[in-house]
């Protein structure tokens, strides 16, 4: 009981602090300063989300089949080396990837999408591969022994059982993606990076935060959305979130 009353006291304190911070922000005119950028935030957030959506979907479309392909027994010999190659790919800083893709594809949305796509690819492919490989051999033997064809095994047993891990990869990848989109401004693709980098250049904290705070909120929002999709799509028997 003492612990519970302590934690509820802390919660109450936090609420009061937030309220006081709000009062202070309002009184000092900070809210008005932020609201000045509201139209920009709206426009840029949409642009930001578009970049994530396009690059993210492309990454999922490519990475999931890639992970499936790599997990097939017929190419298991090379799978680990290919995975290493992708790993090396992620160690290249995203900024460098963006810079490189700019030098091939010029300025604008296209090189930004390509750079983001590359940065997002690996976590999804890796998790798909690992998720499929970690399906218990006993399940695979049972599935084979009951007379499922390789495709039926993939669709009815392997993918459903790996789905939770695959979605975890997508979640991580999209969070990285949203956090990386601001860099896309540097190669002329827009997004909330416009407010952030311009704010930094102008020593304008309010402008910088008007870009940074929505970016953070978008990341949290997308994360929650993917978590929700995971909760709904992954079958109950293999969904840690839905076990009674």
């Amino acid at each position: 009981m003492p612990i519970r009353s302590l934690s509820s006291a802390l919660k109450l304190g936090a609420v009061i602090l937030i309220f006081l911070a709000g009062v202070w922000a309002q009184a000092s005119g900070l809210v008005d300063d932020f609201l000045f950028y509201w139209p920009d935030v709206k426009y840029l957030s949409v642009q930001h989300l578009w970049l994530t959506l396009i690059s993210g979907s492309l990454a999922i479309i490519v990475a999931v089949p890639l992970g499936i392909l790599l997990s097939r027994p017929s190419i298991s010999k090379w799978a680990e080396s290919l995975m290493q190659l992708l790993n090396v790919g992620t160690t290249i800083p995203t900024l460098a990837v963006l810079a490189l893709s700019m030098s091939f594809l010029g300025i604008g949305t296209l090189p930004a999408v390509f750079g983001l796509f590359v940065a997002t690819l690996l976590p999804i492919a890796r998790n798909t591969y690992v998720g499929l490989r970690s399906v218990s051999p006993a399940l695979m033997e049972a599935a084979a022994g009951l007379g499922m064809s390789p495709t039926q095994r993939l669709l009815r047993v392997e993918l459903p059982n790996a789905l939770y891990v695959i979605f975890a990869g997508i979640r991580t990848a999209l969070a990285i993606n949203i956090g990386t989109v601001p860099l896309a401004f540097l190669i002329g693709a827009g997004g909330l990076g416009e407010l952030i980098f311009t704010g930094i250049d102008l020593y304008d904290t309010v402008m910088m935060l008007s870009g940074a705070i929505p970016t953070a909120l978008l990341a949290v929002g997308v994360d929650i959305a993917v978590a929700l999709i995971t909760f709904l799509i992954v079958p109950r028997g293999v969904n840690p979130g839905r076990q009674r």
Partner: protein, 388 residues
Amino acid sequence: MIRLDNLTKVFDTPDGAVIAADHISMEVPQGEICVLLGPSGCGKTTTLKMINRIVRATSGKVFLDGEDTSGLNTEDLRRNIGYVIQQIGLFPNMTIEENITVVPKLLGWDKNRYKARARELMDMIAMDAEAFLKRYPSELSGGQQQRIGVARALAADPPVMLMDEPFGAIDPINRAVIQDEFLKMQAALKKTIMFVSHDIDEAIKMGDRIAIFREGKLVQYSEPDELLSAPKNAFVESFLGEDRALKRLNLVRVRDVVSDDIGTVDVTDTLATARERIDSHGYRDAILMVDDRRRPIGVISRDTTASQQGYCRDHTRGLPAVVHLDDDLRKVASLMFAHDTTWLPCVDDDGRLCGQITQRDMTHHLGSRYRSRRTAQPVIDGDRPAGS
């Protein structure tokens, strides 16, 4: 019927070729359980898995019901063979109902038919369909999961079943229960079953026939009683253990040994009558007392008849134990040891006395098998070391 014809598996390993199964030829008659038994790495599991091609045979053929299976497509072959594995392998993403109906769905049954079949199977394994069909495997205990595993293998009513140490991962108490249930089901279903085990007691309990494997070779293939009474060589002997004669106790029912020659007294008899009967039957220390429906209710000891007067009903000692006609001799021996007695009354389903079983009868019954063997099979048997 399952017939294996020179089935061989050679694994190529970095250390050279390893022969996991060496020209295995055997036949399991329709409706029987054949247990493949042996130490680990002896080739029993490999042999089993070659039948449904989980392991590809290097050479040799498998015949099911007389038909050569090498012409069949792998998926079709497997859908017609029930398969149960030790790790159970229920699909955690599917409900119990979906798990059970996997094979019927693969075979293209319509929805009503496979749903009805799922319920029928739940009845068969004595689990409540309403309570379990919509649940997921992770919500069931190990024993329940393996029952479902067996139900899934039986779903499309395959004539043949392969079971790879199916009850190996279940605790001993539940294992005995599931084995009994399974035998009861098998008595009705009459599947032809190959069953891998490394547990001799399980093999004796489950098997109509037992195949002993060693280093990829089939060493002996016989009925359990034959196996225990006439092990073919020193390896089989040592594998079965020093107490193999005791294991035969499991195989013999009271019914086979019981003698109906038993003297009794009624509750209304006098002790003097009891004394006479004890003497006339030559009993050493006591006689059984039965009630008016010939149910055993107590014993009158010789000492009592010598020292007391009156009616039997007033001088009875409690009954040590009774055995049923369908009990096995292992239980009988155990009761005899527990109650320090050399004989026990036997009763039928209604609890009526139908004879007695004595320690001498038991040893005689078990021993006669060895004696007849010794005379029937003199020293000619080459696999048998001389003098044993």
